[in-house]
């Protein structure tokens, strides 16, 4: 399906989600350019996961506007899902299947033909230097390699946007860096990446980051600009500064 | 008494779990009685106003009196007098009757002169669910009649009801449905309660933390029993109430004795649940083990629906391993035959032994570490 070229891969305006009288996501507004790596930061329970669920079309927003890969998240959530990839921190792969079988399965879900699946599997595994694990059962792979493989399966159907939910939590530091190289290469190929992480070192790898506190998006900027603005050395310090500052200012108790 | 304080803390916590989860609590208390009402009414519906025939060879005062009693009871409806026993077969085949009473020729004479006489109770043995109950009701009426005739102080004359099952000779009618369902439900629900409670802690990881403390495993297990003994007893009371007032199962023996044995039986069920939990790491596994181990075997082997005498010997022995088999004997003995504690000593002892074995076996199997 061809779609008009849009300026933004993700464009969100005043997006809100309420659960009863609890406002999980409170009027967030941001845009993500095509091919951009966008970091989605925030404290636990700040609303990141809820926001992400709305963007991937599995949770209906209460109000606001949102478009992902050119599709309205209210009206077109089904079509939208064909054009995005999603990698969650928990479920991603079948442990008892081999790497190749997993990719076959996920390719099948997106309606790829057998030939497309074969070609795409080969293409991805070769591109990321993972051919040698093709026949390995997922259960025998170390976590880092599982995550790399999960990323490949999320790319099977050539999505326009991929959403990564804490993809590197607990992963070996050097493999984590390999993972980020994969993200970079994917983004260079024009795929937009939205990623959540608690690792502030990784926040620096993003082109731009957003920061959510208590359902609100309190900032969207490049890591460098943020560090300059607050005259701090690292994103870790920026995070603490923003989160604590916001908490104090708004007297948020840990409720 | 440091251990007692620890134990109190544990029990308190179990109660809080039960009280906080009102959905489960309603299920614990509600489901057993619903099951009993449901199964009970399905099975007793069949029994009300069953068509019967009478072959009265005696035609004397005593036989007439008894026939009158039988035909006016709510269970039976006298539709035919037959002349000979040979006609019974034909009536069964036509489906006009479901049971026949045959009085000996000199019924009254034998009763008064020899002290005993015979009545034949003939039922359709192919109707395995209802015939035993019909026979039982028939016998109850006969026993009641005799009891009302005899002075209470000494045993006078008696009637020997002989039972014949046509088409399925070995079927015998010692059992009645409602007590059978009662024992199955108490066993299942009891075993589920403790096994799920422990496996839930394993699933959530709270057991791991509990294990990291010096708490004694005897206490962990024992504390799981106490609160569920109370909830189970409440639901057992409701079942007994339903048996007595809804299904009008006669309570010939002592209610106190019945309740005492019910408590013992609940303990057996709860201890069995503990044992099951040591074989399962998830609630789903515990549920499956309990269901396969108890549900079908209890129905088939314990004599609840099928008479055990017709089963292969191996299965009969397997049936003897089930607590419900013994509680069936106890409850039916007390309810229907007015059995005293002494005559049930053997069965009661077996239940006590079972409680001990299940409890200590599960404590031994309960590993103080993660697997």
């Amino acid at each position: 399906m061809s779609q008009p070229e849009k300026a933004y891969s993700i464009s969100v305006e005043n997006l809100t989600k309420k659960f009863d009288d609890f406002v999980a996501v409170d009027k967030i507004t941001f845009n993500v350019k095509k091919g951009e790596i966008f970091g989605f930061l925030g404290a636990n329970g700040a609303g990141k996961t809820t926001a992400m669920r709305m963007l991937i079309g599995v949770l209906e927003p209460t109000s606001g506007k949102g478009e992902v890969a050119g599709f309205d998240i209210f009206k077109n959530s089904r079509k939208l899902k064909k054009h995005i990839g999603y990698m969650s921190q928990k479920f991603s792969l079948y442990d008892d299947l081999t790497a190749k079988e997993n990719m076959r399965f996920f390719g099948g879900i997106y309606g790829l033909t057998n030939k497309e699946i074969r070609n795409r599997t080969k293409e991805l595994l070769t591109h990321f230097g993972m051919e040698h694990i093709e026949k390995e059962r997922v259960s025998s792979l170390p976590l880092g390699w599982k995550q790399k493989l999960a990323f490949c399966t999320a790319l099977m159907h050539k999505p326009d946007v991929v959403f990564l939910d804490e993809p590197t939590s607990g992963v070996d530091p050097s493999i984590r860096r390999q993972f980020w190289e994969m993200i970079y290469e994917t983004a260079e190929g024009g795929v937009t990446v939205l990623v959540t992480t608690h690792n502030m070192d990784e926040a620096e790898y993003c082109h731009r980051i957003s920061m959510m506190v208590a359902g609100k998006m309190i900032t969207v900027d490049t890591p460098q600009n943020l560090k300059d603005k607050y005259k701090l050395e690292t994103m870790g310090e920026v995070f603490l500064h923003l989160a604590r500052g916001y908490e104090k200012e708004h007297a948020i108790t840990a409720s | 008494m440091k251990n007692f304080k620890i134990f109190k803390g544990l029990v308190r916590k179990e109660f809080l779990h039960i009280l906080r989860d009102w959905r489960s609590l309603t299920m614990l208390l509600g489901i057993p009685i619903v099951l009993v009402l449901l199964f009970g009414s399905v099975m007793t519906m069949e029994i009300k106003d069953a068509n019967i025939a009478v072959v009265d060879h005696a035609k004397d005062h005593d036989s007439k009196e008894l026939i009158n009693l039988i035909s006016t009871s709510e269970f039976f409806k006298l539709v035919k007098y037959l002349d000979t026993s040979d006609e019974i077969d034909e009536e069964f085949k036509k489906g006009t009757i479901r049971m026949a009473f045959v009085f000996d020729k000199d019924f009254g004479y034998k009763l008064h002169h020899e002290g005993h006489a015979q009545i034949q109770l003939i039922a359709d043995g192919s109707k395995i669910l209802t015939s035993p109950s019909l026979i039982s009701y028939g016998k109850i009426i006969i026993n009641k009649h005799i009891a009302s005739k005899n002075p209470p102080s000494r045993a006078g004359y008696y009637i020997i009801p002989t039972v014949r099952m046509m088409y399925n000779k070995n079927l015998n009618g010692r059992y009645m449905t409602v007590p059978g369902i009662m024992s199955t439900v108490i066993l299942l629900v009891g075993a589920l309660m403790t096994s799920l409670s422990i496996t839930k802690e394993k699933e959530l990881g709270t057991m791991e933390l509990l294990l990291s403390t010096p708490i004694n495993r005897f206490l962990i297990m024992f504390a799981k029993i106490v609160p569920y003994l109370i909830t189970s007893f409440i639901s057992a009371l409701s079942i007994i109430w339903a048996a007595k007032y809804v299904f009008e199962v006669p309570v010939s023996g002592s209610m106190g004795l019945l309740l005492l044995n019910t408590v013992l039986y609940i303990l057996t069920a709860l201890a069995l649940g503990l044992l099951i939990s040591t074989f399962a790491n998830s609630q789903l596994t515990a549920m499956m083990i309990t269901m396969t181990l108890l549900m079908l075997p209890t129905e088939v082997l314990s004599g609840m629906t099928f008479p055990t005498d017709s089963l292969p010997v191996v299965l009969q022995w397997l049936g003897k391993l089930l607590p419900s088999t013994w509680f069936n004997i106890i409850s039916k003995g007390i309810l229907l035959q007015g059995a005293k504690g002494g005559s049930l000593f053997f069965e009661t002892t077996i239940l006590v032994v079972m409680v001990m074995v299940f409890y200590f076996w599960s404590v031994i199997r309960f590993k103080p570490r993660l697997q």
Binding site: I133, E136, S174, E181, Q224, G236, L240, A254, S255 | E208
Partner: protein, 309 residues
Amino acid sequence: MTPISAENIVMNYGKVKALDAVSLKVEKGELFGLIGPDGAGKTSLIKILGTLLLANSGTAEIEGMDVVKQYQNIRRQIGYMPGKFSLYQDLTVEENLNFYASIFGTTLEENYDLIKDIYKQIEPFKKRRAGKLSGGMKQKLALSCALIHKPKVLFLDEPTRGVDPVSRQDLWDMLQSLKKDNITILVSTAYMEEALLCDRISLMDHGKILATNSPDGLIANFEKPLYAIRSGNSFKVIKKLKDYEHANSVYPFGDWVHYTDKRDTIDPLEIKSYLENNDTTNVEIKQIKASVEDCYMSLTSKNQNYEPA
């Protein structure tokens, strides 16, 4: 008496060697970190030391008591906080605390002093069910419960896993403050930078301890001169450096790239001009002190590529 000592601990899960002859000694009052990614063996080691798992071989003692034979006595002396939140979600904050106090035959009031710094922060919510607490508060409650019986040794398995930087810092502040009570603490984490908050650490990978040292000692042992390089485009710098014939290791760190060379002595200007000759502009280069993460990656560099068994 050594609070924690382990010798040649081996733990197998089927064919997988979770722990491969691990030995460890932790001194009284130390805040000791087990640092490594998932699958390094941290959790198995903590569970074995916490008497919750039996090792296949090797011996371990807690406060001089054998983890196999004297596990009951050890359990009186230790506090444990599993990786997964393991308190009763349907009980309130107060009920959970009272329950764990009662198990140890004590009461909240009796040991209030020890936990008050932590508990004070959640006390306003004591009537709230544990399941309804935020992540940070759950941790404070779990830690309070682990301390309620005044343990001599405290085990914490990845307490900062999946936790945001703010709550992470709160937790480390709490652990630091426990040192004044002379409690020995063994804590595991996959966040390398948290190593700096420990007195001593063991770096773990694939069931082995690679190094045990103080963070400073570890960093001082970093063999090669380490350079931090950046230009506007880290990805480009990484690519170009990886193609450089003398490159030994190239790792992104934030917006910098950490670089070591195969040669013992180098001139940073040489690298700078190499990059500038390969259309990279605005190159900055400086020699820096290694971080724990640099040390870790240098120690595990041989394991970077997964080889199927």
